[in-house]
Symmetry: C2
């Protein structure tokens, strides 16, 4: 059983994976080009999902299963995989821990005045009069209450926050105290202290939040976007923030990334810019390989117990 | 029933308290000097505990109960209170929420590289290569695992951290996975990623952490002190940090406060200075008055159901 990977993990992780499956021959390469001809005999292929073409799939001789170590799969040649009956699984779900920690860290940083404290430290100023607040008792609205949003909701509830969620259906999901549908948004907007969006970019979510939604929020509201930059039209968000309609925006995602030099967001007092890294973590590969190992056991036993099987028709 | 307060809360809170007890006459003053003669007829006195002298107690005519809206009571004339059989209660326990949130915010800020992200934002640098980590799976040692430490432990466990605690006895307390006594400290020092101290200043805790304790910690260890500044001799901590024996110290408390201008801690790269405000919160007075109201109901009903009765012999 030949397993080719176009991802080259650190040695310790490679050894651990190989040791768990002595019957398999693992070949790890940095990039599919480095793998060269080796790819075409692989029975199993491990990839970030950005390097496979239709030609790769068509020319492959023994390929049965592709493990995509990512959640985004926009560049996967699903049609060719389907034609050749190749199983595709991915690493969906491994973003929830880093993203939820990032969201909570951002909210705590806000109530604990971390930015002002850092400025005071730089100026050697001892000021105990900062308006220190708490998460406890505050209301959080999570936009997109799936796996990631649910983990954010769970942690927020540990802190004694009131949590509401928004999803497509408005049906109850785990974690949120109350779930609203997108069309019911106006009910909850005036009540929330924090808004965290983890929404992906889809036809439904593109420019979903409009001027009037922000107008309905509290003046003290905090907007945190760790989903996708096209949730709000940039001009709308700029205008909302320039006129102080809300208190602060923490933006990890943007319409154009990297955020261009000299973009007004960089210098605005009530905007905090981070470079689309809420999901980044040193544990990314170890955690993806946990899913891979589970699925490889399943593959070897030839049963149905796979994690994250992709429907090749729908593409997710 | 005359109730005098040397604390002047905001009007809304004063009204709420008065409304709850129509049978009582409340007189709120800003400072005991402003109360003047009014103090001497009070049956109940509300104070931060820093304004009462023995003379006040001796000259008081009807004083039965003092509610101290604080946890520290170093300046309370306990002997005189005991002689006159005056009940003393305090607001112990209200620090746990702000302090635990501050501790978690600090740990999350550390793993999520918030300081580096803020520097990059200032310089308009989009850098996604920062070593983003997680709290999940990391080990936290809480020094002083009482009410505050227990709340820190509870939250840390919500994040999937391994939590150990240190207290005087080494006996199990709520919240920690394993409790060590102070003498067993060397066992756990090499295992922890984060050290959070909430220890008060006592004969036993003064200069408790020594050079050799820091030497036993991981190079990557993070030390967070929100207890008291005399837990470590300042020269020891300076030397530990100058020689990078640990990764970072977050210091909210110091031997001398305010931390003097030009003190090396202000500018050290691996030290973050905050001005002793981990326990500060807008909710301080409302929460203290919740305890007061409970105790006033108890006082009126003349039963034993008081919260936080002080042993006047021991002083806590």
């Amino acid at each position: 059983m030949k397993i080719v990977s176009s991802i080259l993990p650190p040695e310790a992780l490679r050894e651990e994976v190989q040791k768990g499956f002595p019957q398999a021959e693992f070949l790890f390469y940095k990039g599919i080009e480095t793998a060269g001809e080796s790819f075409y005999d692989a029975e199993i292929f491990i990839t970030y999902g950005e390097d496979l073409t239709e030609e790769h799939i068509h020319k492959s001789k023994k390929l049965k299963w592709i493990m995509v170590m990512s959640a985004g799969m926009d560049e996967m040649p699903f049609k060719a995989c389907k034609e050749k009956g190749i199983l595709v699984t991915n690493a969906r779900g491994i973003h929830k821990i880093p993203m939820a920690e990032f969201a909570l860290g951002t909210m705590l940083g806000h109530v604990k005045q971390m930015a002002a404290l850092a400025r005071n430290e730089r100026d050697e100023v001892w000021d105990r009069k900062l308006p220190m607040e708490e998460l406890r008792g505050k209301t959080l609205l999570v936009l997109g209450i799936g796996a990631i949003g649910g983990e954010i909701a769970r942690l927020a509830k540990c802190f004694g926050m009131n949590v509401a969620g928004v999803n497509r259906s408005g049906k109850d999901a785990a974690g949120g105290d109350r779930i609203y549908s997108i069309s019911q948004l106006s009910e909850i907007l005036p009540k929330a202290d924090f808004f965290v969006s983890v929404l992906p970019s889809t036809v439904e979510t593109r420019f979903l939040l409009k001027k009037e939604h922000f107008a309905a929020m509290k003046d003290s509201a905090v907007f945190i976007n760790i989903g996708r930059g096209d949730l709000v039209e940039e001009e709308v968000l700029l205008s909302v923030l320039k006129t102080d309609q809300i208190s602060h925006a923490y933006l990890d995602v943007f319409a154009n990334e990297p955020l261009p030099k000299a973009h007004p967001f960089w210098k605005m007092e009530n905007v905090t810019v981070t470079p689309h890294l809420s999901s980044i973590t040193k544990n990314y590969l170890p955690r993806s390989f946990e899913i891979f190992k589970h699925n490889l056991h399943t593959y070897i036993k030839n049963n149905k117990d796979y994690i994250n099987v992709i429907d090749l028709e729908r593409g997710y």
